[in-house]
């Protein structure tokens, strides 16, 4: 790590760079402007912007500059490099690496444009490439939007191939043999007569070789690592208690801190009285931080205990003060003044509704949700001798640098962000609050490393939440399915709220309000989806699958109601409506896996739902049983299409985890507000899914899509509607509000 730090501070260089006793490939001179981003669609995958291989006396290291939150991204990204470099995964160290704009994520904004993932027109392709430009200019090293694999697929393989080419050239010089007579194998270059030179032995010779500007990537048929299930690099440590999360950082003479800030989110602190806290055992100091106060102590628990005794006078927030008022704000947004988007308006919906003899309609509601990853927010900061080090689990390390510069006034070069493993995130660690606080505490304790740890109560009540929202639909249904659909969706703008906190202006409509609703590949003659924006400043943010998390429930409950209105089979109706072949196939797959159509035992019911989100068609079937009037989730089936599967066993893990995450929220997830404060403070009130509630889950991975896609989120959106639709099938009860346990009990 120390060597890596040196490179970061000094310079990133094109091509290869000599480092103490070794070589680094693909470094970028990050102080210089990145090359003209408008040429990006021509040169995407250029080796110069595709870090990252270091070969030195410690061996071969691959930099996988995306946050490991549990999705296995570091293993999959390293596998892309390893495949082309021709090394085994077990042979390499995998590092997250430093924060740098050179590691910007080009693909993350692809979801933010009004072109459906199924749209393969040249305009859609141009737009997808075009949003790589702001992504590059923002230089956001960001993990999110299920975009890591799509973003890395070309550039990390190219990075491996370029490094391999240079090592072959170095071996050719050493052996006096033509390069094309050499091959590589497991981290060595091998000559025709069987001489093998390790990559490490070639590292210093390689520094004088100019990398090739064009490299050929292996055809898929020759892959040895990609496409096959790998043992994740982080699993042994995570199974033995030796994995180091942010909360586990330990530094010499480190002090522990905890914080309380205004539970009226975003509002000021008028005053506080910490006289009791200051006298408590273990307490070193109490400091005011923005709209709250932090206790610094010799042990986290002393800090927790003391911070709980501080008396605060809080200012009130301006957003609605209770849950009912928040719901009312949503209801009142179904109005032309609040209209945000209408990306879909096929046929003539008004005429179809006017001329219909009967209309199917419904109104749906979802609550706010917390991310509640199991590792509470924490960060460690150490300000000394004109430099700052920060250790934190973060999805945007480059933003952490920016915040650190703002707070300390130090130059970027004096700041090092160490991105740690994350005990879950689900979108929570896209925020900077806990990092900013840790730096501010450390700035008041210069010389002493400070680890700031939030209590669970602070975490649950100071999240930026999945927005609450509503849907209203009207449909005209014939014997063959819907002929008209008018779907109206109202919710807050995640984009405005979240980007606002990052200081990035977010103009125009917010596609998240209608995500996975406006762009679904159903062929309906008259089909309109309108988004309405709720305007108040209760803090909201991306929650695993973002707008798809509520819109999947709205859209797919609606489709179920449409099918049942005319006695149509909800699976067959969806299959018949599909205009996108990979989407049709995931439905056919879950139908087959679940023996859809076969009779179930008395008291059982099956529900199906489909969502195309983040470019991935996902279909899920849930089977429930009613036991003593309560719902038991018996079995779940999921089929997803990721285009090309990088690591099947890890994809399966993400789908089953995403599905359970969706089921957990659907069953009992709810955040309520009273007097401006979030009421649920811990897991006794915010009830997450328990072991006995998880169904058996069967996953099938299809590869009919035209592009490689990420899978961290797409498993989540169909879970809630599949469950609600299964409950309808088993009981005849149509539940139009989440969480479902407001309306029916669960085993």
């Amino acid at each position: 790590m120390s060597k890596l730090g040196t490179i970061t501070r000094r310079t990133f260089l094109f091509g290869s760079v000599a480092i103490a006793g070794g070589i680094g490939f693909g470094y970028y001179k990050y102080k210089q402007p990145i090359d003209n981003p408008l040429e990006l669609d021509l040169s995407d995958g250029d080796a110069a912007i595709t870090p990252y291989v270091i070969i030195d006396q410690n061996g071969i290291s691959i930099i996988a500059p995306r946050a490991e939150m549990g999705q296995g991204v570091q293993t999959t990204l390293a596998a892309m490099v390893a495949e082309e470099l021709d090394v085994r995964l077990e042979q390499v160290n995998v590092l997250h690496g430093p924060a740098s704009a050179a590691y910007f994520n080009a693909a993350v904004l692809e979801e933010a444009i009004p072109f459906a993932a199924t749209d393969t027109s040249s305009m859609a392709k141009r737009m997808r490439n075009f949003v790589h430009v702001p992504a590059k200019l923002l230089g956001l090293q960001i993990t999110g939007g299920s975009s890591s694999v799509a973003d890395a697929y070309e550039k990390m393989r190219v990075a491996g191939a370029v490094a391999r080419g240079v090592l072959i050239q170095a071996a050719a010089q050493k052996l006096g043999a033509p390069a094309n007579s050499l091959r590589t194998e497991n981290g060595t270059v091998v000559s025709r007569d069987g001489q093998a030179l390790s990559y490490q032995s070639l590292a210093s010779a390689a520094t004088s070789i100019e990398p090739e500007s064009e490299v050929a990537l292996k055809p898929q048929s020759e892959w040895k690592i990609l496409g096959k299930s790998q043992n994740r690099i982080d699993v042994p440590a995570k199974s033995t208690g030796t994995a180091e999360f942010g909360i586990d950082i330990d530094l010499p003479n480190m002090m522990h801190a905890s914080i309380r800030v205004n539970p009226n989110l975003g509002a000021a602190m008028n005053s506080f009285d910490a006289s009791k806290a200051e006298a408590m055992r273990g307490v070193k100091k109490v400091v005011a931080i923005d709209n709250g106060a932090a206790v610094i102590a010799s042990n986290t628990w002393y800090a927790f205990k003391a911070v709980n005794t501080i008396k605060f006078d809080w200012a009130k927030a301006e957003y609605p003060q209770n849950s009912a008022a928040h719901l009312k704000a949503v209801e009142e947004s179904f109005h032309s003044d609040h209209q945000d988007s209408q990306f879909r308006d096929d046929g003539d919906v008004d005429a179809a509704l006017e001329n219909a003899s009967s209309i199917v309609s419904g109104e749906y509601k979802v609550p706010y949700l917390p991310h509640a990853p199991l590792e509470p927010m924490n960060a460690t900061a150490w300000l000394r001798n004109g430099k700052l080090d920060v250790w934190a689990g973060t999805q945007i390390p480059t933003q952490a640098v920016k915040e650190a510069v703002n707070i300390t006034g130090l130059d970027e070069s004096a700041i090092t962000i160490h991105t740690t493993l994350m005990g879950g995130s689900f979108g929570r660690r896209l925020e900077m609050d806990y990092i900013i606080q840790a730096i501010k505490v450390a700035a008041q304790m210069e010389g002493t490393p400070i680890k700031l740890t939030w209590t669970r109560e602070e975490d649950m009540t100071h999240d930026n939440y999945r927005p609450n929202g509503m849907a209203r639909f009207k449909a005209v249904v014939s014997e063959n399915g819907p002929t008209a659909i008018d779907l109206q969706l109202a919710g807050g703008s995640v984009n405005t709220s979240q980007m606002g906190r990052l200081g990035i202006p977010a103009a125009g409509p917010d596609i998240a309000i209608v995500q996975a609703a406006w762009d679904q590949p159903y062929g309906v003659q008259n089909y309109r989806v309108t988004g309405y924006r709720v305007k108040h400043d209760f803090p909201i943010s991306s929650w695993r699958s973002v707008g798809s998390s509520q819109n999947g429930f709205f859209h797919e409950s609606m489709m179920d109601e449409i099918a049942h209105a005319k006695g149509l089979d909800p699976m067959q109706m969806r299959i018949d409506l599909m205009t996108h072949e990979p989407s049709r196939k995931v439905l056919e797959a879950v139908a087959e896996m679940s023996n859809w159509g076969e009779a179930l035992p008395e008291g059982h019911g099956r529900g199906v739902a489909f969502s195309l989100s983040f470019g991935v068609p996902a279909a899920e079937v849930i089977e429930v049983a009613i036991v003593n009037g309560k719902v038991k989730i018996v079995k779940a089936f999921a089929a997803v299409d990721v285009g090309t599967a990088m690591d099947p066993r890890n994809i399966e893990a993400q789908v089953l985890g995403g599905l359970n995450f969706g089921l957990a929220a659907a069953m009992s997830g709810n955040i309520s507000i009273q007097n401006g404060e979030v009421q649920e403070t811990n897991f006794h009130q915010y009830r997450a899914m328990r072991f006995y509630q998880s169904p058996e889950i069967e996953v099938r991975i299809l590869e009919n899509g035209d592009r490689v896609k990420g899978i961290g989120e797409p498993g989540t959106p169909p879970a809630a509607p599949a469950l609600a639709n299964a409950i309808f099938a088993a009981t005849g009860q149509r539940i139009r509000e989440l969480p479902l346990d407001k309306s029916i009990g669960f085993v």
Binding site: M69, G70, Q71, G72, N231, R232, D234, V235, P236, A237, K238, S239, T240, G241, T242, E244, F245, I247, D248, D250, R281, G282, N299, T300, W301, Y302, A372, P373, L374, E375, P376, M422, G423, G424, S425, F426, T455, R456, R649, A653, Q654, L656, G657, G658, L659, N660, F661, L663, A664, N682, F683, H684, A688, M689, R690, F691, Y692, S694, E696, I697
Partner: protein, 171 residues
């Protein structure tokens, strides 16, 4: 105060009501047990007290006395894992991994008492532990395969008695 963790005696000077978790983590730098909720609702902090699984976040140090505390570090190491830990790796259970030390401690306590648990018994033993990543299906599979591997060892009495004989001789 004296405390015995993973077979080692430690002397600590802390408030009597400090939860065991914070003695382990911040005083002894034993970081396997995790903080998740502080009120025994998630069990990421699970350790064994004389073999029984307890939520260390809600167990005051003064109540530990001379009991033997075992943390995940006491079960096995990356290069010498316990059968339960190995099953966790074989099934690639962990995603974020934060809850898994607690899950493994709960599973180990169950399997130490009962190496052939029914699904219901597994439900009872494992339902106090939260996993936000939703890895439950793989946890169940790992518990079952660890149980099978433990039973196989139990079914080889010859080796076991040999080990017993050796330890008797050496002691």
């Amino acid at each position: 105060m004296k405390i015995n963790v993973n077979g080692q005696e430690h002397e600590v000077d802390v408030a009597a009501d400090m939860p065991l978790l914070w003695v382990l983590r911040d005083e002894l730098n034993i970081k396997g047990p995790k903080f998740g909720c502080g009120i025994a609702q998630c069990r990421a902090c699970t350790v064994h007290l004389n073999g029984q699984p307890i939520p260390s976040c809600s167990f005051p140090i003064s109540a530990v006395g001379g009991a033997e505390i075992t943390t995940i570090e006491g079960l096995g190491k990356p290069d010498a894992m316990s059968l339960v830990q190995q099953a966790w790796v074989d099934h690639q259970v962990a995603q974020c991994g934060y809850c898994q030390p607690g899950q493994i401690m709960s599973a180990s306590a169950l399997l130490n008492k009962n190496s052939n648990p029914s699904d219901e018994e597994i439900d009872t033993a494992m339902s106090a532990n939260l996993c936000r990543c939703g890895t439950y299906p793989r946890i169940r599979a790992a518990v079952k395969s660890a149980a099978k591997n433990i039973r196989e060892i139990e079914l080889t009495p010859a080796i076991e008695s040999e080990i017993d004989n050796q330890s008797e001789v050496s002691s």
